[in-house]
Symmetry: C2
Subunit: 622 residues, 2 copies
Amino acid sequence: MSLTDFLFGKPLATLDERAERIGTAEGIPIFGLDALSSAAYGPEAALTLLLPLGALGVGYIVPVSASIIVLLTIVYFSYRQTLGAYQSGGGSYTVARENLGTSAGLLAAAALMIDYVLNVAVGISAGVGALVSAAPSLERYTLWLCLAILVIITNVNLRGVRDTGAVFLLPTYLFVGTLVLTIVIGCAKTVLAGGHPLPVIAPPAAPKALELVSAWLLMKVFASGCTAMTGVEAVSNGVKAFREPAAVHARRALTAIIALLIILLAGIAYLVRAYDISATAPGVAGYQSVLSMLVAAVTGKGIFYYVTMGSILLVLALSANTSFADFPRLCRVIAQDNFLPRSFAVRGRRLVYSWGIYTLFFLSAGLLIIFGGVTDRLIPLFAVGAFLAFTLSQAGMVEHWRRLKGPGARHSMAINGLGAIATGITVVVVLVAKFVDGAWITVVLIPAMIFVMIAVRRQYHHMSMQIASQSPLDLTRFSPPIVVVPIDRWSKIPQRALTFALTISPDVIAVHVAAGDRTVYLQNEWHDYVEVPVGELGMCPPKLVVLSSPYRFVIIPLVDYVLDLARRRPDRQIAVLIPEVVENRWYYHPLHNQRATALKAMLYFRGNPQIVVINMPWYVQP
Amino acid sequence: MSLTDFLFGKPLATLDERAERIGTAEGIPIFGLDALSSAAYGPEAALTLLLPLGALGVGYIVPVSASIIVLLTIVYFSYRQTLGAYQSGGGSYTVARENLGTSAGLLAAAALMIDYVLNVAVGISAGVGALVSAAPSLERYTLWLCLAILVIITNVNLRGVRDTGAVFLLPTYLFVGTLVLTIVIGCAKTVLAGGHPLPVIAPPAAPKALELVSAWLLMKVFASGCTAMTGVEAVSNGVKAFREPAAVHARRALTAIIALLIILLAGIAYLVRAYDISATAPGVAGYQSVLSMLVAAVTGKGIFYYVTMGSILLVLALSANTSFADFPRLCRVIAQDNFLPRSFAVRGRRLVYSWGIYTLFFLSAGLLIIFGGVTDRLIPLFAVGAFLAFTLSQAGMVEHWRRLKGPGARHSMAINGLGAIATGITVVVVLVAKFVDGAWITVVLIPAMIFVMIAVRRQYHHMSMQIASQSPLDLTRFSPPIVVVPIDRWSKIPQRALTFALTISPDVIAVHVAAGDRTVYLQNEWHDYVEVPVGELGMCPPKLVVLSSPYRFVIIPLVDYVLDLARRRPDRQIAVLIPEVVENRWYYHPLHNQRATALKAMLYFRGNPQIVVINMPWYVQP
């Protein structure tokens, strides 16, 4: 087993692909982690904004959560229909592009890409938030913990989708199980205590009230709470990953995911109010997550607390995995339409789209570093993209049904229309409420990304027009190239290069940059070692051209000579033969080839189609 | 004027070199900055270690400085002799290598290289220390200020030595002028006040005494204070940079530098005691440099204070420049002996050794980042290298005079012998006193560097043995290569590649990795576009080989095919013709060539001398 195999898994053949597909039970963790884990930061994001209201603030979490659940239900019914209509994977990009045109598709694509990256950053930072709640002494290592988790997830994903499912199954069910249990116990205690249960461990007291409640504040609370809904579109992007019948499996997975999410959101809101739990200030020592306080209040800090916090950490960190499953797939679809570099559509060793995974890794690592791994600073950027994608997807479905005109199309159209309106209003609310705090970044990024995607496609098109050919080989102007061989001093390296040059063309020119005595030696050796033996074979011996170089440059005179030669002989190809020393050990590489590399780069940079570069490796024997 | 010219200066011809040489007045700032500026951190390093003694500690600075001045005088007379004996540049490396053998030379080289790097880091960090003394609010930007200054100095040096001298002339003389004036005024006030002058601005009170004085503590104080002597060897490395008669100019510059340094050290020690100035804790808010407190005590915080602090900042930061003048020269000498990659001996556009400058930049930036730009943390690593180099240089000179046996050789030998013994003892003292605090790093690094240098030389030797040739071209086995052309689909790119291939060899094989329908199209086109026209010319048409690839890899099957072909045809060269798309704009580069680059890399990595790579650029028209 090679090191690469150990790190990234054995390569998988294309025929293995079918076996890599998943069922409902595996689909829930893979495509639902993001949606479910949002329950761990959505309510908290809302509660953090309620802090200025002091003890009274907690009460507002119930109506806010209720409105989010209503919105979630609408979105669920909308997406159910998408799954049936787009069985080969109906991400917002596909649906919007097919029904509303390219611009809408690119808008959805940009929105989704931003949100996938943010989801990785928010998921991991919130997971680390859970960890430092349970172990406060780790607070100052927040960023390093985030980056370490990101590296692990990236590696797991480079290994491929099957392995991924297996790794995430247990933590997801543990997370849902412990939280639901906490909610059940908490509700039972609340009911038994007549609505005011005694916490096992009391949460920190709410801070003093600094503001009175206002519509603007509640709007911001709602906008932040909406982050709890991110990730519900994941199933619709990934229908293709399900086993046949894919639509059925996908629909079951979606239903389970949304139902569980509603239970979690409702339960958390109810208990937070019952136990009077306010958020704590984020990003500073003393921070504790809302779920940590909640579980401690309901069950105390026993084994159950640590198991729950452990599963929250795992699931939140791994929720990033939804993005790692979907971001590369989205990039592939976009790249197949030539809006992104084609490398995004090439599958690597393990049937995954490696370029997408690398890109996601670097972008989310950048976000984590810029925002120091603090969830609360990332939240304002989040959700705009998700709701924009929701809206475009639903609007696209409305158009889809309008065209289809089948039985039931009217009914379906109404459902998707309601979804489009509800999510469209939410986009505006979120954008306005969080614009100053960070949503403006999304507003700037989305057009920039659309611009890049259009430019990529135009350049590919431009290129393919240029190279398109429906004509046979043109062998009318058919003469061997003039071969130019740079030579510094006589050794086996130019000896081999010259021999090769003479086999491919009778026109060989050796070029030497003058360097004092060395030049004189070389000129003598040239006569004995080249002119005599080649002459004896009756061939025309190669010329030795000596170039002067007042600036001690070696590269520039050579390149100038080649360019000048190309100008003087427009009818001929010029082949520059560059010997390169290849060391058998990488750490010897810096000893050689700086000049060869520079010469090649400059020939490419200043060159033209007449000029071809031949690399001749010289392998150093150990 | 091009951008490169603006940033780095116009290229200089070799003939311009003479004009680039300098006189005594310019030699003092260029080679003396390091030595002179040491006065700004040497006494402070000693005083910081005296802090635990409380108010009593300051008194010990006078005897410690006196012993350092005695040592400095001995070293001065030693180096005076080196300048006369080694007119073409007698750095410790050259002197030790010629007289004591290669091992001693490499030891000196490693020691010097380490000290040059440390000198850059210490000079810049101490300069920034002066800045934050005058403007305490900048304290938290210490590291960023350090790095910004490093970038500026690096750029100035890439422009060449003449410009460098002009930039540093004024600050050096301003530094020496203001400090000497401060000392004169301070001494006058002290004498007039009967030994106890009243400070204009009182320095912070000394901390409480925590320890009693001990021999061990004084030894550490002496060892830290010795950093004031670093840099005095600079002139001996740079004799060649002086105008003729170089030895005379160099000797005058050395005398002036040492005399000024002694005045500064003696004056600072005397006034620090007279005004009772203790150091402040380094690396935390409230830090103030000793010179800042001294100048404020003597003259108050008026214009003169800020001019003085400004010149200290400039000179300390620029003292790094001594290293930038000497480190690349040292690397060149070592590289000419094949102990470092040859690139270090190649002069760039502006007659400077660019590789040495880049290396110094990266190493000192690394040190600054690791130690947060705090001088006090760098001091323990410093001085070991300098004194080791002093010792080897003096010992080498002793051997030099022993061999020479001329008149006066005995006398000269005695002077260098005294120098060798004094500095040798100092090395041991510094090493023991600062071992735990950081000197051990030097002890680990020096053998590692010597190992690397020996390995580099061995590898160059090994290589030159392999390629040495005193034989003519061997044209007995003389047949054109088999040309392999990878092809994906028919377009102008493979069309041009195949045409070129046919001009250099009759044996052309096109290789295609199977990809569904595309393969079928290609096979049809191959017949019409290649086989027919080539056949019509009466030539043997190129074969189209289709490779299957169950893992969707493209690169690996191609490389395997080429390697297999090379095995089957051991008598032939195999030329792999790889078309590459060259975009006219750099930002389009990611769109193409990932496969071409990977293919070339793998052919090199797994290839053998039979295999040659031909790069054929395809320029995209704008």
